[in-house]
């Protein structure tokens, strides 16, 4: 891997248990700043669990235990003095199905600011516009900001969710199969957007779609389950290397479609 890149997220010996079941096993990898890192692998290999470990969303489920270390900018986010609210502002998340709140378009994007107690109308309006512009949605919604977000198409809703995440000014954006519920054109728009966003943000994306990983990401991590169904990292490197000359035969098997 390219050593000149600055490391943003550093994962060391990460184990995650659901109750007694080991869901991901001993993951160690470094995610570089201002780049797109894709996590690929078959269903149930712990991709989403891994992603949700990066903003501690796994903790919303009962009985989840996390071992190991995840450092963002050199700080372990699992150390006891970490403020979860601050962490999640810094690490935004976009989900598999677009999940805008049943509020207006404006209020969706403003939500993150409002819960921070920001009341300054002008500042909120500015941030909402900027975030919608960055998410490449402004031109489509600028005349109907106060209409319900649920009236938008699926692709627009997903870009709205991205705008909503951008509004709280994160440095990292986690995307959990962000295009799996969208049609091909909406998918391409999301991918274009990701390429633009990586100039400023560190993006980690989980995807089922290998072509998508190949098209959009700079680095790819391939996960697979072992005989106990625990997800583990098989291979990690430059996307072009993973897809053209994988080192591990299991990676090659997966990307050439032999299983998964």
């Amino acid at each position: 891997m390219n050593n000149k890149l600055k490391i943003k997220i550093s994962v060391r010996n990460l184990n995650i248990y659901y109750g007694k079941f080991l869901a991901i096993k001993n993951i160690t990898l470094d995610i570089p700043e201002r780049s797109i890192t894709a996590v690929i692998g078959p269903s149930g290999c712990g991709k989403s669990t891994f992603l949700r470990a990066l903003n501690r969303m796994n903790e919303l489920l009962p009985d989840v235990k996390t071992e190991g270390e995840v450092s963002i900018d050199g700080r372990n986010i699992y150390s006891p003095d970490v403020d979860l609210v601050k962490l999640r502002r810094n690490v935004g998340m976009v989900f598999q199905r677009p999940n805008p709140f049943p509020k207006s378009i404006f209020e969706n994007v403003a939500f993150g600011l409002r819960i921070q107690g920001i009341r300054d109308r002008e500042r909120i309006e500015e941030t909402v516009e900027l975030s919608l512009r960055r998410a490449a949605l402004w031109d489509e919604v600028k005349d109907k900001l106060y209409k319900s977000a649920l009236e938008l198409s699926g692709g627009q809703q997903q870009r709205l969710c991205i705008a909503r995440a951008l509004a709280v000014q994160p440095q990292v954006i986690l995307m959990d199969e962000p295009a799996s519920a969208l049609d091909p054109i909406a998918t391409l728009r999301i991918e274009d957007l990701m390429r633009e966003l990586k100039e400023e943000y560190t993006i980690v994306i989980v995807t089922h779609n290998m072509q998508q990983a190949a098209r959009v990401s700079d680095f790819t991590a391939f996960f697979l389950t072992d005989e106990d169904r625990a997800g583990m990292l098989i291979e990690y490197g430059n996307t072009s290397d993973i897809f053209t000359m994988p080192k591990d035969p299991r990676t090659e098997g997966y990307i050439t479609g032999r299983y998964g």
Binding site: L60, L87, R88, M93, N99, F101, G112, I115, C161
Partner: protein, 280 residues
């Protein structure tokens, strides 16, 4: 096989018809005998001449006030309990026990609530027999309705909304307050209205907690005794010195009570219907 099918169809249809028939008969009977009694005077005047003439205004007033008072206690406690069960204590043993307790509460005979209300609110807490004690007693009886319907409403809010909120750095209470509760509001309202409909018609819990046979004045504080529609029907049919003479009043009172509870239920159905349409 065809024949068997027909038998089951007839059986189920018959059962349904019996229910509809009974309900229509009750409503028709009360309407037929009660509608002529209902005048402005009947609704706005107190009883006169040993309760053989005049109106039922104090009973309407007492019923409405004690029911509203009940709402004031039941809605916050019920809603917060449901929030705890569904949002904070989900899956914990503690909430399992609370849920069990609430389900059991719903199956306690209402006269037992009356006795409890007398022992606890009237005597132990020294609230005396009056509107407040009665409202609290009825409140315990209707609490399960509010808790269960609020829980249902909270459960219907997709988890993805909560996740989105948390991922934006919202605290648990912020997620509940600004995402979950607004979504659940119609369901919570429905529960509150159903509890009103239920609480309004209850008589047994009032017997020892503040209802009065007859009062020459309206209650002026929440510690005063009060008259009540359901209880009024009961005494007019059992305690009146001339049951035949007061029969029209009995029917009229029953009709008023029926209309009140029915209208609350219709409001609840309407809200639920609008909520469903909004969702789809």
């Amino acid at each position: 096989m065809r024949f068997k099918e027909k038998i089951y169809l007839s059986l189920t249809a018959l059962a349904t018809l019996i229910i509809i028939g009974l309900l229509s008969y009750i409503i028709f009977d009360i309407l037929k005998n009660g509608i002529g009694v209902i005048t402005w005077e009947f609704l706005s005047q107190p009883p006169r001449e040993g309760m053989t003439k005049g109106g039922i205004f104090p009973a309407i007033y007492g019923t409405l006030v004690r029911t509203l008072l009940m709402l004031v206690f039941v809605v916050p406690i019920g809603v917060f309990t449901a929030i705890y069960l569904n949002e904070y204590g989900r899956g914990s043993n503690f909430s399992k026990w609370i849920r069990l307790a609430i389900n059991n509460l719903a199956s306690v005979p209402s006269i037992v609530f009356g006795l409890f209300g007398m022992g606890f609110f009237v005597l132990f807490l020294r609230l005396g027999a009056g509107l407040l004690s009665a409202a609290l007693t009825i409140g315990i009886l209707t609490l399960p309705i509010v808790v269960v319907s609020t829980e249902e409403a909270l459960r219907a809010v997709p988890n993805s909304y909560r996740e989105a909120g948390f991922a934006l750095g919202a605290t648990k209470w912020q997620v509940i307050r600004s995402i979950v509760l607004p979504q659940a509001l119609p369901g919570i309202l429905t529960g509150a209205i159903l509890s009103v409909g239920r609480g309004m018609g209850e008589v047994a819990p009032l017997l020892f907690t503040g209802v009065a046979y007859y009062l020459p004045y309206l209650p002026s504080s929440i510690f005063d005794q009060f008259m009540d529609l359901g209880y009024h029907i009961y005494i007019m049919t059992t305690q009146s010195f001339n049951i035949e003479l007061t029969r029209p009043i009995q029917y009229g009172t029953a009709l008023v009570l029926l209309m009140l509870t029915l209208s609350f239920n219709i409001i609840a159905i309407f809200i639920r219907y609008r909520m469903r349409r909004k969702r789809s």
